[in-house]
């Protein structure tokens, strides 16, 4: 059963002055099945950030629909959007977005507190997650006291504790060193194996090569998709590299021609 369905999504930005129109997304359609791990790749300006914003209900498509678990997220009232996102979506950001006024523990509790959950329940939910992410000893620390990798793990814990239908990750490894990147990707793999649906936008071939499917966006359209099938991480890495090379060459030849 597909958990996320984008149908002919189109997004046109109109500049505030002069009325210049920019077509960020031309016509994007795809589905994500429950338990899938999808990486979205594309160059700067390809429209992937716009797509992510629309999937995250931060922005509305000009035309087309996005269905999450059968519900049209474009049709949700403005006042209910925040609650919808809180209850159904989880986010992991490049720059972690932890509040420096909270300890890691309180940062992780934040979405649950907003939902009005009791402390005991939050605490019971946190313990196994913190264990799995290896941050049990860091919970009392403040963001400025821990490393980037540890911050990102806390951010992942904050995402998982709400048990979202879909996790949206935006360049989650963008600010991490290679060791922390590996650790985080392992965690994503683990979480996905336990049934969590993940959509990750990334530049990193390494990060994409750990996904079950890689979707390439170019000029506002889905250009190509690679399914892992039975490939290993290394094989998938190679396929992704080849596709990117192909994409780059096409662009160059188009520019020359």
């Amino acid at each position: 059963m597909s958990i996320l369905e984008a149908q002919n999504v189109k997004k046109i930005y109109t500049a505030r002055f002069g009325g210049n129109k920019v077509e960020a997304l031309k016509n994007v359609s795809f589905t994500v099945e429950e338990g899938e791990y999808v990486a979205v790749m594309g160059e700067s300006g390809s429209g992937k950030t716009t797509l992510l914003n629309i999937l995250a209900a931060l922005d509305k498509p000009t035309a087309g629909r996005v269905l999450l678990d059968g519900q049209d997220i474009g049709a949700i009232k403005e006042s209910a959007v925040a609650a919808f996102r809180r209850n159904n979506l989880g986010f992991v950001f490049q720059d972690f977005n932890l509040l420096d006024t909270f300890s890691l523990e309180d940062n992780i509790y934040l979405p649950l507190v907003l939902m009005g959950r009791r402390y005991d329940e939050m605490h019971n939910r946190l313990m196994p997650i913190a264990d799995r992410l290896g941050i049990s000893d860091l919970l009392k620390k403040y963001p400025y006291e821990v490393s980037g990798g540890q911050k990102q793990r806390a951010a992942v814990a904050r995402t998982l504790i709400t048990r979202p239908k879909l996790v949206l990750a935006d360049e989650p490894t963008g600010a991490l060193d290679s060791k922390s990147t590996d650790e985080l990707l392992d965690i994503f793999g683990d979480v996905n194996r336990m049934g969590q649906t993940i959509v990750m936008v990334t530049h990193s071939v390494k990060a994409a090569s750990r996904a079950g499917r890689v979707m390439f966006i170019r000029d506002g359209e889905v250009f190509h998709q690679i399914y892992r099938g039975n490939s290993t991480n290394e094989e998938l890495y190679q396929k992704i590299s080849d596709t990117l090379t192909l994409l780059a060459n096409r662009k160059t030849s188009a520019a020359i021609g």
Partner: protein
């Protein structure tokens, strides 16, 4: 680089940061206006020529100094907010290749522009408003208004020089900061990481103890002398306690709340409490300053307004009747001497010639001494003022019962050593009273009596004993001595009455009486019977009295305005700089799933707490200071506690209204800054 680039950069800098610069420039203008008006009034020939104008100008000259000093402090403080924001821009210029010298030139232009704008518009506005202020003054002095605008060249010069110096100092300080900073520091000066504040329990506890102690002092002190002596001790305790509590106490309270998990992990409390810790750490000192400024404004304005409103009453305590005549004697026989009779005749004669009759007439004799009270015994030999028992010092008056009965229209009777009792400034509750080694009097009851100029003037409380056989009592106490062995008991004759006449007529009558009394005295009728004589008239003193209280009132209001200005502006800058710091935090909260409504609610509760905490604390300080202010005003002859209560309450309400208005403007800017970021986050 072309030379016009510096003024252009300076001007764009000011314009682009209008939200910060506009209030600063307005404050500069406001300060210039205030300073010019006060220095204009203190030098105005016209005011000086009004009755009592010279007294008022003395008060204003003092006020001039206060405003000048405060302007310097205050402009420095607000400028530091500007510098913090501008540093980033300067860092950018620096990295783009401008040397520090070039930036200094931008700063020089900027300061010159601000100084030029503030001085020109401030002086222009000051000249206009000085006429309004002059009319107010003239009204207070009850003189005739004069309708043309005059410009005080010396005042303009003084203002220009003072504020040029202040601006130069501000510039020097900015250059100093620039000199010691490196570009990277400049670029990042705004967002340096912050540790979570730790609660300093010791400071919090000391703060509570100091505040409790000061409040206890304020409420329990009975004696005006002690109030005078301890007033400043209490003020310093309150100031210290306010700083400690705002800085350490607030953090400690937040920490306690955080420890209570059931309370802390609730949608409404979670974000607010945790942000408050940081807010209070950053703003504790600023908020304490605002609280103290507010308290100062309230105490100053309400007491000066009260003095001004109650000026007639204050004067009446000091000069109980329109004409007051006092004569001092050593021998009891003086009261029935030929001379006393002669003086009485003079009074009647003058009034008869002028066609006037005495009203509220009082004519009484009294014996006086000062003594230190210990367990119901008043010791005249005690060193009192020079010893440690200054708080127990009393002025003691003995008055014949028959004089009491005739003045008060009563018909009291006493037997043996019974007395009636009347006190001013504090109460005496014991049953018996002795003076030195003499046999004790028993208090029959406590009564009311007329005001007395002398006991109104002095700080120590007075006790009046009305005795049946004054003749014998005066004889009995004539041997009282003080600590040095000198005679400590003297007799006084008080002869006073009201007239139904305008002030001018009263002054004439008083001068006439005094001239004849002197003449009569020189004619050598029993020359030494009265060793000193004195006449005081309410009419003659009224203008001086009103001018003094009016001057204090005027100054109180002016300084009140200046301090309110200061408090509001500090508040504004606090909120604005908070707003810039909070932008990123709100972006995150929205990403994590807080709705705008929730964020706004949480922000609102924090902003309101931060904003109204100082007002609340100031209100509490004021309430506890009330008994002390009341006793201090007694020394100014104001005995009407109800008037003070009403005036204080009204002042507080007006102040709170101003405060709410300031809150509306300020919080509006805050939300504009915080939500300005939302657009960016989406783009």
């Amino acid at each position: 680089m072309k030379h016009t680039i510096y003024p252009r950069l300076a001007w764009t800098g000011i314009r682009k940061n209008g939200r910060l610069y506009l209030p600063y420039i307005l404050t500069c203008i406001g300060m210039v206006v205030m300073f010019y008006i006060v220095s204009f009034l203190s030098a105005s020939d016209y005011i000086g020529s009004c009755k009592g104008g010279d007294q008022m100008q003395l008060v204003l000259q003092f006020g001039c100094g206060v405003i000048g000093f405060f302007s310097a402090l205050f402009l420095f403080y607000t400028n530091s907010f500007l510098m913090r924001r501008r540093k980033k821009e300067f860092g950018l210029y620096n990295i783009l290749g401008m040397g520090k010298w070039n930036i200094a030139r931008v700063l020089l232009w900027e300061t010159a522009m601000i100084a030029g704008i503030s001085l020109l518009s401030g002086l222009a506005l000051g000249v206009l408003l000085s006429k309004v202020a002059e009319l107010c003054m003239v009204n207070i002095l009850q003189a005739d208004a004069m309708f043309f605008i005059s410009v005080d060249a010396a005042g303009i010069l003084h203002t220009a020089v003072l504020f040029s110096i202040i601006f130069l100092l501000i510039l020097a300080n900015a250059l100093r900061q620039l000199h010691f900073a490196n570009p990277i520091e400049l670029l990042h000066s705004e967002n340096t990481g912050e540790r979570p504040p730790k609660a300093n329990w010791l400071f919090a506890v000391v703060g509570v103890a100091l505040l409790g102690g000061a409040y206890y002092l304020a409420v329990t002190l009975e004696n005006p002398i002690e109030v005078m002596m301890l007033f400043f001790v209490a003020v310093i305790m309150v100031i210290a306690a306010t700083y400690l509590l705002f800085m350490a106490g607030s953090v400690a309270i937040c920490k306690v709340l955080q420890r209570n998990k059931k309370y802390y992990y609730r949608t409404n409390h979670f974000v607010s409490v945790s942000s408050m810790v940081y807010r209070m750490k950053r703003n504790g000192a600023g908020l304490a300053s605002i609280c103290i400024l507010c308290t100062m404004v309230l105490v100053m304005v309400s007491s000066t307004v009260c003095l001004y409103v109650g000026k007639e009453e204050g004067m009446r305590t000091r000069y109980p009747r329109d004409i007051n005549f006092y004569a001092r004697a050593d021998q009891f026989s003086a009261f029935s001497s030929v001379k006393a009779k002669g003086l009485r005749e003079i009074f009647s004669q003058v009034l008869k010639e002028r066609g006037q009759t005495k009203k509220n007439f009082m004519d009484y004799r009294r014996g006086e001494t000062s003594a230190v009270e210990k367990d119901g015994i008043f010791w005249t030999e005690d060193p009192g003022v020079y010893g440690s028992d200054i708080g127990k010092l009393w002025q003691v008056y003995l008055v014949p019962l028959e004089d009491y009965n005739s003045i008060m229209g009563e018909n009291e009777e006493l037997s043996g050593r019974e007395v009636l009792l009347y006190t001013t400034k504090r109460n005496y509750e014991k049953e018996e009273i002795s003076i030195s080694n003499h046999a004790p009097f028993t208090v029959k009851k406590t009564v009311d009596f007329v005001d007395d100029g002398e006991s109104a003037m002095i700080v120590v409380p007075s006790i009046f004993l009305f005795v049946a056989d004054f003749d014998a009592v005066a004889e009995e106490f004539s041997g009282l001595v003080n600590y040095a062995g000198n005679r400590a008991f003297s007799l006084k004759w008080v002869y006073a009455f009201d007239l139904s006449l305008e002030d001018e007529g009263q002054v004439e009558i008083m001068d006439e009486i005094w001239a004849r009394v002197k003449q009569y005295n020189e004619s050598d009728v029993e020359a030494s019977v009265f060793n000193s004589m004195q006449i005081e008239g309410a009419a003659k003193e009224r203008s001086g009295f009103y001018a003094l209280y009016g001057g204090l009132f005027f100054l109180g209001i002016l300084l009140g305005i200046v301090f309110v200005f200061a408090a509001v502006l500090i508040m504004y800058y606090k909120q604005v700089s908070e707003g810039y710091e909070d932008q990123s935090r709100f972006e995150i909260m929205q990403k994590v799933g807080m709705t705008k409504h929730e964020i706004k609610k949480s922000v609102n509760s924090q902003v309101i707490t931060v904003f109204f905490l100082p007002l609340l604390a100031a209100g509490t300080h004021l309430a506890f200071a009330f008994p002390m202010i009341k006793k201090c005003l007694v020394l100014f002859g104001l005995l009407n506690g109800k008037l003070l209560a009403v005036v204080t309450l009204i002042c507080f309400c007006i102040f709170a209204l101003l405060y709410v208005a300031a809150y509306r403007i300020t919080s509006h800017s805050y939300y504009a800054i915080v939500s300005g970021m939302e657009g960016k986050a989406r783009g």
